[in-house]
Every structure is written in C-alpha cells, then in structure tokens.
C-alpha cells in the first residue's frame, strides 16, 4: 500500500542570533498509510508540535522532505500550498484559541468553503451538516468561541477541519486541554469519523494510555529524534529504548 503521507529526514533547526542553534526536530522519518492512526508521543519539548507544524507547512523545514500522495510539498507556496490543505487539516490543542474571537463558529467552519467559492446558502447548509456530524446542534453556528465550552469548541474545530473533506487529520494534543469525560467523547467522535470517512490521523499526545487505546502505530519522540516505533502494545509492553522505558514507568 502506498503511504498517503511520507516524511523523510525532517529536520528543524531554530537559529537565533547570539544563541546556540536549537535542533527541535532531528531527522525524523515516518509514513502514514490510508486509514491509519499514527500516534506520536513524547514529553514536552520533544518536538511533537514542531513536527505537526512542519508537516502542515505552517513553518518551513530546515532539511528533509514531506510528500502527500507522492507529491513533494516541502517547498510548496501560495496556491500550491493551499491545494494541500484540501487533503490535510489540523485540530489544535486549545480549542478556544483556534477560533477568531471576533467571528462566529459558523464563520470559522465555513472559511475553507468560502475560499473555494461555495455559495452562502450552500455554506450554511454544509455547516449545519458538519455540526450535526460532530454532535452539535445548528444553533452553534451563530455562537462565538467564548460562548461555548471547551468540548463544544473542540467539536466545532473538528467540524471545521472536516469541512473541506480532507484525508489526513493532524490532531496536535487535541484532547489535552479537555477534562477526562469530554476527552473520551472527543476520542469517540474522532474514532467514529475515522471509520466513516476512512481518514488517516496523526495523533499527537503525551498520554500513553490514550495512545494505546486509540492508535494503530506509535512513534516515540525524544529530543527531536524518533527513539522507537511500532504497534502500541509492542512499544509499551516491551520498550526497546531507555527513554520509552522511563515514559512507560512514569505512567504505571
């Protein structure tokens, strides 16, 4: 099977004048296959979020290549870059911060549709459909981000990510800011959507238990490097690297 997303030797070095270069991501390579849920775990500062930003091209890689459906997107710009976002979307850690405070959730959800020339009535219809799919009533289209709870806002964020019909969804700590019961609901929603649409997820998370439950395969990131990869059971039950062992011990 062809990978839907292939990352090779991805490296990001942050340079600041007068300071030592900081290697945030160090030659990370992985593949994501259609319909797969790939977990990425690691402690704070291990480079998980930087990987997400690199893959979505929100920041530029220092080295390495990123390919979606076999197309190299490492240096895509302008319209070519916007084309990629039809296939790849992201859900952010802080749901409220991922919506413009001056615009309604409906505006946020339909922004990608607007940019692709979908008419106003059609957008309105689709927003209602998306909200319903994500377990929200249509009234939420007219609410502002600060008027809804974290869990509701994250559902809206998932609706926004799905609006344009992507194949890859990158969840950057998408459940970390939510309390445990809401976390479970969001995970169930993600699981349902994944089965229904055959989406591929990159699920970035620091919670090993969640990863074990949710992911098909897992990468362990430490200090910007992949220190271990494999099925969650293999990684968690018989960790090979010293760091993974520490991580597992810290949970149990």
């Amino acid at each position: 099977m062809e990978p839907i997303l292939e990352v090779k030797n991805l490296t990001k070095i942050f340079q600041k004048r007068g300071k030592k270069d900081f290697v945030a991501v160090d030659h990370v390579s992985f593949q994501l296959f259609p319909g797969e849920i790939l977990g990425v775990v690691g402690e704070s500062g291990s480079g998980k979020s930087t990987v997400a930003k690199l893959v979505t091209r929100l920041i530029d890689a220092t080295e390495g290549t990123i390919a979606v459906n076999g197309r190299d997107i490492t240096h895509a710009k302008g319209a070519a870059l916007r084309d990629i976002y039809v296939d790849m979307q992201m859900v952010f850690q802080n749901p409220a911060g991922s919506f413009d405070p001056r615009r309604t959730l409906g505006d946020g959800i339909s922004e990608s549709l607007k940019n692709h020339g979908v008419s106003k009535e059609e957008r309105r219809k689709r927003v209602v459909g998306l909200l319903e799919r994500c377990g929200l009533s249509k009234e939420f289209a007219d609410r502002y981000p600060y008027e809804v709870s974290g869990g509701q806002c994250q559902r809206a964020a998932i609706a926004r990510a799905l609006a344009i019909g992507p194949k890859i969804l990158i969840c950057d700590e998408a459940t970390s800011a939510l309390d445990v019961t809401v976390q479970k609901q969001i995970l169930e929603l993600l699981q349902f959507l994944q089965k229904a649409d055959g989406l591929s997820y990159i699920f970035i998370c620091h919670n090993l238990a969640l990863v074990q439950m949710f992911c098909d395969r897992v990468l362990v990131l430490y200090d910007g490097k992949v220190v271990e990869s494999g099925t969650p059971d293999k990684v968690i039950l018989s960790p090979q690297s010293e760091y993974t062992r520490c991580l597992v011990d810290a949970v149990l």
Binding site: Y85, Q89, F92, S98, P101, E111
Partner: protein
C-alpha cells in the same frame, strides 16, 4: 451566589460605560455639527472688521467680546473651531490609517523591510514630536495644510508601533494557523482576522490622540507655522491676542476655552471607548 453578584456588577458597570459612551458621543456629535455649520451659526461675520467696536469686553451682544479689529470673538471661535477640529480629524484619520497599514504589514511579514521601517519610526520617536514638526513645517512654509502634513510625518510611527505589536501577538495565535489551513491567502488573513482584532487598540489610541494632535496643531499655528491670519484658527487667534492678555484677556481666553472644551471632550470619549473595548467588558460579561 457570589458569581451571580459579580456578573451583575459587571453588567451594571457595562451599562454605565455604555451610557457614558452615548453621552460623550452625543456631545462630540454636537460639537462637530456646530463646527460644520459654524458659518451659519455665527451671529456676526467672523472676518468683518469694525474698529469702532474694538476690544469690547464680553456683553449681551458680543458674548465673548471683540478683538483689536472689532471682530466678534464668539463668531471667530466658532469658525476657528471648524478649521481646528476638521484639520485635526483629517490628521488623525490619515496617520492612523497609514500607520496601522504599515505596522500591520511589517508585523505580519517581518524581515528586512520591517527592520528598516521600524528604524525609521524609531528615529521619528526619538525626537520630541513638536520640535521635529516645527522643523518640517518651517521647511514646508506656513499654511494649515502644511502644518497637518508636518505633524503627520512625525506622528504616524506611534500607530505603526501599536499595530505591529498587536499583529505580532495575534499572528502567533492558533486561529491564524487555522485560517491558513482553511486556504486563506495572506491578504485574506490580514483583512479577515488581523485587522478586525487590532482595531480596538488602534481606535483607542486614535481617540486619545485627537486631543494631543489638536494642541500640537494649535501650537504650530501659535508659532506662525500653521494657519495664516486672517484665517480664524484657535492657535493663531491665541497667538495674535497674546500681547493683550493682561488688558483684554477674553481675546486669548475665548479660543483657549474652545481648545480646552474640545480636547477634554475628545479625551473623555477616548477613555470611554477604551473602557468599552476592554475585553473584561466584552460580550461575555
């Protein structure tokens, strides 16, 4: 219980701010209308000289007295207000739009152009504004238009600073990343998400700046670098009356009162707008 009380207190405070906002808006609107229709409101021709009636103290027929040419001071203050107020508003509008645009673009794109533009604005901010404006105004010769231009040249960096700082803060937000992921171009991101979110602080800066700019404009006119006599303008009216301050104080005080009332009114409105825009006072409160 205590939460309900706080919510109610917030609501009351908000209603209070709203009321104040309406009152000051109405007063400013009245002032602007008076300035706009000053030629019709003025009881006398502000430029008609009548030496028989020179230097009359305030009375029923001339409520602010007359000046050394026998011109009615009240009419001159009204008509002078039109020049002062609209020149100031034009100035503030121009510098806030220009400064905001420059600051937003610099903040959003960064890079070398940003560094160069910000150094230029540093240079402008390093000089005392009025001194720099005097130099520019002297270079351009007098006239109210040139005085406005001189003040504009030295005053826009304030806005570009505010706009740039706000843009940098907002640019880092996830909702900007989300907008990019939604396929919005840089222009769309700036117009839809950045400008609306920085408008509040810019508006407040502009409102509070009106008073300052009016004083500086009057200052330039006072020094003979702004409106040229016989054009009625508060700054040059005070200037031409300054030698008569001890004997005929109303000649200086009348335009002074005009400046005082207008500056205070605009500052109060600015303060109220700031309170109104305060996020703690936002729609959630």
């Amino acid at each position: 219980m205590s939460k309900a009380v706080t919510v109610r207190a917030q609501k009351l405070r908000r209603d209070n701010t709203k009321l104040r906002l309406y009152i000051f808006l109405a007063l400013v609107a009245a002032l602007l209308l008076a300035a706009l229709f000053s030629m019709r409101l003025a009881p006398y021709d502000p430029y008609l000289q009548n030496l028989d009636k020179a230097m009359q103290p305030p009375s029923a027929s001339h409520i602010m007295g007359t000046d050394h040419h026998g011109r009615d001071m009240f009419s001159r203050v009204l008509v002078g207000g039109r020049t002062s107020i609209f020149a100031t508003l034009a100035l503030v509008a121009a510098i806030s739009v220009f400064g905001t645009l420059v600051g937003t673009l610099c903040g959003y794109y960064g890079g070398r152009v940003d560094s160069v533009v910000m150094r230029i604005s540093d240079i402008c901010l390093a000089f005392p504004g009025l001194v720099f404006a005097m130099a520019v105004a002297a270079l351009l010769n007098g006239g109210i238009g040139n005085a406005v231009l001189a003040l504009a040249v030295v005053s826009w960096p304030k806005y570009s600073r505010v706009a740039r700082g706000q843009t940098l803060a907002i640019k880092a937000g996830d909702f900007i990343s989300a907008a990019k992921l939604a396929g919005s171009s840089s222009a769309q991101v700036i117009i839809r998400h950045i400008l609306p979110n920085i408008l509040g602080p810019i508006l407040v800066t502009a409102m509070l700046d009106i008073g300052t700019m009016m004083m500086e404009l009057a200052g330039l006119s006072f020094l003979g670098l702004g409106a040229v006599p016989p054009t009625a303008e508060w700054g040059n009216m005070m200037s031409s009356g300054r030698s008569m301050l001890q004997m005929y104080p109303w000649v200086v005080l009348s335009p002074g009162i005009g400046i005082f009332i207008t500056v205070v009114l605009f500052n109060l409105l600015g303060d109220t707008v700031r309170d109104y825009m305060d996020p703690r006072n936002s729609r959630s409160g």
